[in-house]
């Protein structure tokens, strides 16, 4: 019998542990449908805010070879317009749809979460960690009290699981357990890391916003440490590991560290949507070769040694 890739994540059942990471293609129904068809186990939407946001002007993306730098500026049409996409996606896509929510205060988070739930999402991810949009993300997440009250508030209106997406600065078991204490059902670790690139030829920053977020293989070791330490101190917490997943080995590394499922983000730039199939096949082959029956056996396996 072929090994079982199904995982359970704070009550969500995923056919396999791959999840489209937030901000990657999750802005439109059509793209999300293609991600489902490519084999993903779940989808996180682009972070949506109450009001529409234009985002930053180009350049917004830099391929550094070992990773990527981006400062999109949370462009999104606002939750009202996005609800249309989300509703259609919820109707026609069968894998879990996690709505990523952004906001500047508790009220905005509540409003957006309410509408996303209304539109039929299967779960919520609170973006408390985007490192380059003033007033959002990490600026909110850096205030532990505020973050906890947002979690509590959103949780109070949600029967669906609520994940908090964290940056490296929040990737500490003490902070995560405060989030859990406030009602979070799980944690998504990690978001991009504050970074910048300066073009030596022109002697200017490349991103229009100057500061962006670093993603890709180069942040994987940082994600692995974050996941490992959270798993060690909080053995039961559902973790979506994100950061540098660019193939089945990388996915497995995060799982061995303690991730129940893994986000796939900027690696799509190099490998396109086939990456989902590649990860799934690779994991299945690994499990079979080593005689494991289910991917669940490997979650946090590196802690045994």
């Amino acid at each position: 019998m072929s090994p079982d890739l199904e995982v359970e994540l704070a009550g969500l059942r995923l056919r396999n542990p791959t999840i489209l990471a937030s901000g990657i293609l999750g802005s439109f129904y059509g793209l999300m449908k293609r991600v489902e068809d490519a084999g993903a186990g779940a989808i996180t939407t682009k972070t949506v805010t109450r009001e529409p946001r234009e985002g930053y002007p180009n350049p917004v993306f830099v391929d550094l070879g070992f990773g990527y730098l981006n400062a999109m500026g949370l462009p999104n049409p606002g939750i009202r317009e996005f609800s249309v996409e989300l509703r259609r996606a919820a109707r026609e896509i069968r894998i879990p749809l996690i709505a990523s929510i952004g906001g500047r205060n508790e009220e905005e988070f509540m409003d957006v979460a309410g509408r996303a739930l209304d539109a039929g999402c299967s779960g919520i991810e609170l973006n408390l960690s985007c490192p380059h949009v003033s007033g959002y993300g990490l600026e909110i997440g850096s205030d532990l009290q505020l973050a906890c009250s947002i979690i509590k508030a959103v949780k109070s209106i949600s029967s669906k699981p609520v994940f908090t997406k964290i940056s490296i600065h929040q990737a500490r078991p003490d902070i995560v357990s405060r989030y859990l204490g406030s009602g979070a059902d799980g944690v998504t670790a990690i978001n991009t890391i504050r970074a910048a690139a300066i073009c030596v030829e022109s002697m200017t920053p490349i991103l229009s916003n100057i500061i962006g977020g670093l993603s890709g293989p180069c942040i994987r070791p940082i994600a692995v440490a974050a996941i490992y330490e959270i798993r060690r101190e909080l053995p039961g917490v559902p973790i979506i590991g994100v950061g540098g997943v660019d193939g089945w080995r990388a996915a497995l590394e995060l799982i061995l560290a303690g991730a129940n499922a893994v986000g796939v983000g900027s690696a799509i730039a190099r490998k396109d949507l086939q990456i989902f199939g590649e990860i799934i096949e690779g994991l299945r082959r690994f499990l079979a070769e080593r005689g494991f029956k289910s991917i669940k056996e490997l979650v946090g396996y590196a802690h045994r040694s």
Partner: protein, 251 residues
């Protein structure tokens, strides 16, 4: 860094709103016709441009004045200035081998089709190009095309070539000639109309589309043709007509 350094070698004014830029890169590049580059001007912005030509380190862009970056290019760029390029990006035209190809361009859409003409010559194809312009003073690049392939032009409001849109011209031509492939690049309505027509006649067709580009890498989702989920930057910009069929349901 992901940018190549380019130096402007020459700028040619083609019409009052269109210029041609010849750029020499620090490294060779080998784009396919239909592929594009993101051109970054530090302190100004970054925009997608189709390759209008390319030979080892030498490339050409044909640029219409639209807004901030194209305006800056028209007004400020001079020979010797540096620009930065990432690419080639996206999927270009599928080149046929032998047979007859029809190229249909509207305005600066002729840029990738000019590049394509040059490449098709070596494939032993018969090539005909239809170039559409709004008015007499917007006509450009006709001689360049004529040197390579059989060329006809249409002008909506003017005295040269066929009177009317390039779509009208296309319909006339297609009534009397047979082609193995149609390549199109123009405004979206033109592309869609051509595709609809070709699909009906059973002629393979590819068209180059535009959307707002941000990452250019197929991950941000900004350039999606919805609800098909086709990313112009990655699955395109050149898209096979049959992929677009679901958009054409309304006749």
């Amino acid at each position: 860094m992901n940018y190549r350094i380019g130096k402007i070698e020459g700028i040619r004014t083609l019409t009052k709103s269109i210029k041609e830029y010849e750029i020499v890169l620090d490294e060779p590049i080998n784009p396919e016709p239909g592929q594009f580059a993101m051109l970054w001007i530090p302190g100004v912005g970054e925009i997608p441009l189709s390759f209008a030509d390319a030979e080892t380190k030498r490339i050409k862009f044909i640029v219409a004045r639209v807004g901030k970056v194209t305006g800056h290019m028209h007004d400020k760029l001079r020979a010797g200035d540096k620009v930065f390029i990432r690419g080639p990006l996206g999927r270009g035209f599928t080149r046929i081998r032998g047979g007859r190809a029809l190229l249909v361009a509207g305005g600066y859409g002729l840029a990738p089709l000019y590049f394509l003409s040059r490449k098709l010559r070596s494939m032993e194809c018969g090539v005909k190009a239809l170039l559409g312009f709004k008015s007499d003073d917007e006509i450009f690049y006709v001689k360049e095309f004529e040197e390579l392939v059989e060329t006809e032009i249409s002008v909506e409001h003017g005295s040269s070539g066929h009177r009317g849109t390039v779509l009208d011209l296309f319909k006339d031509v297609i009534r009397v000639e047979r082609f193995n492939m149609v390549y199109a690049c123009g405004r979206e309505e033109l592309n869609l109309a051509l595709i609809r027509k070709c699909l009906r006649m059973g002629v393979p067709v590819e068209a180059s589309f535009e959307r707002i580009m941000r990452c250019g890498a197929g991950i941000c989702g900004s350039c999606s043709i919805e609800p098909l989920g086709i990313r112009v930057c990655r699955d395109g910009p050149v898209i096979d007509g049959s992929m677009i069929a679901p958009m054409l349901e309304a006749p």
